[in-house]
Amino acid sequence: MSISSQPVRRACEPGDQTGHKRIDQTGRTVISNRRDTLMKYLLLLYSDPAVGPDYGSPEQQAEMAKWFSYSEELAATGSLLGGEGLQPVETASSVRIRDGKTITSDGPFAETKEVLGGFYLIDVEDLDQALHWAEKIPNVGYGTVEIRPIMDYSQT
C-alpha cells in the first residue's frame, strides 16, 4: 500500500519562497513544518528488570553489541547530545524536603514494574524523527521508551 509511487510533493515549486526542502537523516524529504532550530528530546528508557536477557548470557552480549552500534549510529548523525545507562533500581535513593525537613529514602520515586534504566538526549528536527530513534532502541521490544520534548525557555 502506498500513497502513489511518486509522493505528491509539489510544495517547492520554482518561485516558492516559503517551502524548505532538504533530505533529513532518516532519508525523508522534509518540506513543511521545518524548524530552523532543532528540537531536543529526552528518550527515557523504561523496562522491567525481570524481563530481558540475563546478565552474562549470549543474548545479553548480543544486545550489548546492539546498544553500542545504536549509540554509534546516533552519534554519527550528530544528533546525540548525551546518554547513559543507569545502575539497577536497587541502588536508587530518593530525597524530598517537606516542612523544612529533608527526607531521604531508599528506592525510586515511584514503585512500578518498569523502571528507568537509561536515557538518551537527542537533537533532531521533529517528533517523527525522535520516534524513529526511539523505535530503534535495542530494548524497545520488551521495554517502553518515553519521549519528552525539552523545555525551550527562549520560546516561553
Partner: protein
C-alpha cells in the same frame, strides 16, 4: 442580487477552500493556531468585502493572500522579529499561482491524526482544521460542553507545538500505520453520527456527511489507497440506508423490514464506484471487506434475495484477518439466513460458551430472533429478557420490550 451571490459564494468557498487554506498556511507558518486564525480572519473579511466589491475571479487565491496578510499583522503585533516574516511578506505581494495542494492537505490530515495525540483530540482537530467546523459545532455534535471542547483543542495545539509534531506525509515505512490512524478517525466520526440519528446540523449536514466528505477528500488526495476507498464506500453504503433504518417514532427498523425504495441510490452508486476503484489491488483490508458486505445488501432486490453465501464468505475473510466476537456474531446471523436458523443458533451457542458477548445486547436479541423463527417462543422470551437487562440505549430498550411483548401475543 450581488449580496445573495456573495453569500452563496462565501459558503461555497468555505466548503471547498477552508482545508486547502489551512493546509497551505500550516506549511508556511508551522503553527496550527495561527494558520486557523489567519484563515478565519480571511473569511470574515471576505464576507464583508465580497458583498460590496463582488466576488473575486479566483476566490481561493484572494483568500490565501488575505490570510497571509492577516498572519503578517499578527506576527508583527508580537513585536519580536519572527524568522517567518520575510518569506511571508514576499508571498503576500504576489497573486498565488494555482497549484496542486494534495501534499499540503495530506500533511494537514496526517498531522491532525498523529498517533502522539489522543484519539479524542485527533477527531476534534480533524473536524476543526480539515472540516472547518467551529468549536461550538464539534462540542454540540459530541454532546460535550463547548468549554470542554475548546480546552481539548487548545491542549492538542499546545502539544503539537511543544513536542514539534510534524505536519508531513509520513515516510513509506510508517505510511500504512499512519493511514490506518487517519481512517480510524474518519470512521470514529462516522459511527458517532450513525449512532445519533438526529444529530445537530453541521457544515455538510451531520457527522456522517462530514465523515463521508473527509473520506472522499482523502480518496481524491491519495487515489491509490484501497483502504481509504474501502472506508469511503463503507460510509456511503451504510449511510445510504439512513432514511429507512428508523421509523417515525425513532425506533430502529431491522434490515429485513426496511423499505428499500427509501435507500439513497445516489450514495449507493458512489459507494460502489469507490469499491470498484479499490478492487483488484493487493489484499482487501477490513474497510473494503465491510464495504463488500454493505454492497451485497445495497444491491439485493429484497432481504430474501440477498446473496448470503458471499456475505458469509466475506465475514470468513474478516475473521481470518483478526475479526473479534462481534464479527462472529454477524457471521452467525448471515449463516442463519443462508442455511437456516438452527445453523445460526449453533454458532451462537459456541459464542455463548466463550461468554465474550454476554454484555452485548445485540447478541441476545439476535439469538431471540432466531429462536422465535424456530418456534421456541419461551427461549426467545428469555433471550429478549437478557437483552433488555444489558441494553442501555432507551430507544432500543423500548423496541426490545415491544418485540418481547409481541412474542406473547402470538
Amino acid at each position: 442580487m450581488k449580496q445573495t451571490t456573495a453569500v452563496s459564494a462565501i459558503d461555497a468557498a468555505f466548503r471547498s477552500e477552508w482545508s486547502r487554506l489551512v493546509a497551505t498556511l500550516m506549511r508556511e507558518l508551522r503553527d496550527l493556531e495561527l494558520a486557523e486564525d489567519a484563515a478565519q480572519e480571511a473569511f470574515v473579511e471576505a464576507s464583508r468585502r465580497w458583498r460590496t466589491e463582488g466576488v473575486p475571479s479566483r476566490p481561493g487565491a484572494w483568500l490565501l493572500t488575505t490570510a497571509r496578510r492577516k498572519a503578517i499583522d499578527r506576527l508583527r503585533r508580537a513585536k519580536r522579529f519572527d524568522e517567518r516574516l520575510p518569506a511571508l511578506e514576499e508571498a503576500a505581494k504576489v497573486e498565488p499561482e494555482p497549484r496542486t495542494l494534495a501534499d499540503d492537505q495530506l500533511a494537514l490530515i496526517f498531522g491532525c491524526c498523529h498517533p502522539s495525540l489522543g484519539v479524542d483530540s485527533q477527531v476534534a482537530l480533524t473536524l476543526r482544521s480539515v472540516g472547518g467546523l467551529s468549536t461550538a459545532q464539534i462540542a454540540h455534535a459530541f454532546l460535550v460542553p463547548e468549554a470542554t471542547m475548546a480546552k481539548r483543542l487548545v491542549r492538542a495545539k499546545k502539544k503539537i507545538k511543544a513536542a514539534a509534531i510534524p505536519f508531513t506525509v509520513p515516510d513509506q515505512q510508517h505510511l500504512d500505520a499512519r493511514l490506518d490512524a487517519v481512517c480510524g478517525v474518519v470512521y470514529a466520526i462516522f459511527t458517532e453520527g450513525h449512532a445519533s440519528a438526529h444529530g445537530p446540523t453541521l457544515l455538510r449536514g451531520n457527522l456522517c456527511d462530514e465523515a463521508i466528505w473527509l473520506a472522499d477528500t482523502i480518496s481524491d488526495l491519495a487515489p491509490d489507497e484501497s483502504e481509504v476507498r474501502g472506508l469511503a464506500a463503507l460510509c456511503l453504503l451504510t449511510d445510504a440506508r439512513r432514511a429507512a433504518r428508523i421509523d417515525e417514532s425513532d425506533a430502529p427498523v431491522l434490515l429485513a423490514d426496511q423499505d428499500r425504495s427509501r435507500w439513497d441510490q445516489f450514495k449507493i452508486q458512489r459507494g460502489l464506484a469507490h469499491l470498484l476503484a479499490a478492487s483488484g489491488q493487493t489484499e482487501r483490508g477490513p474497510y473494503q471487506l465491510q464495504a463488500t458486505i454493505a454492497a451485497v445488501h445495497s444491491t439485493a432486490a429484497s432481504f430474501s434475495e440477498t446473496d448470503w453465501p458471499t456475505i458469509v464468505n466475506t465475514y470468513d475473510q474478516i475473521i481470518r484477518s483478526g475479526g473479534g466476537p462481534v464479527v462472529e456474531l454477524n457471521r452467525a446471523v448471515a449463516v442463519a439466513e443462508s442455511d437456516g436458523p438452527p445453523a445460526g443458533l449453533e454458532l451462537l451457542a459456541d459464542l455463548a460458551a466463550r461468554q465474550q458477548l454476554d454484555q452485548y445486547h445485540y447478541f441476545h436479541s439476535a439469538q431471540a430472533e432466531l429462536l422465535r423463527r424456530t418456534g421456541d417462543v419461551k427461549g426467545a422470551a428469555l433471550a429478549y429478557d437478557r437483552s433488555i437487562e444489558v441494553c442501555d440505549n432507551e430507544i432500543e430498550l423500548a423496541w426490545l420490550k415491544q418485540r418481547r411483548d409481541e412474542l406473547a401475543e402470538r
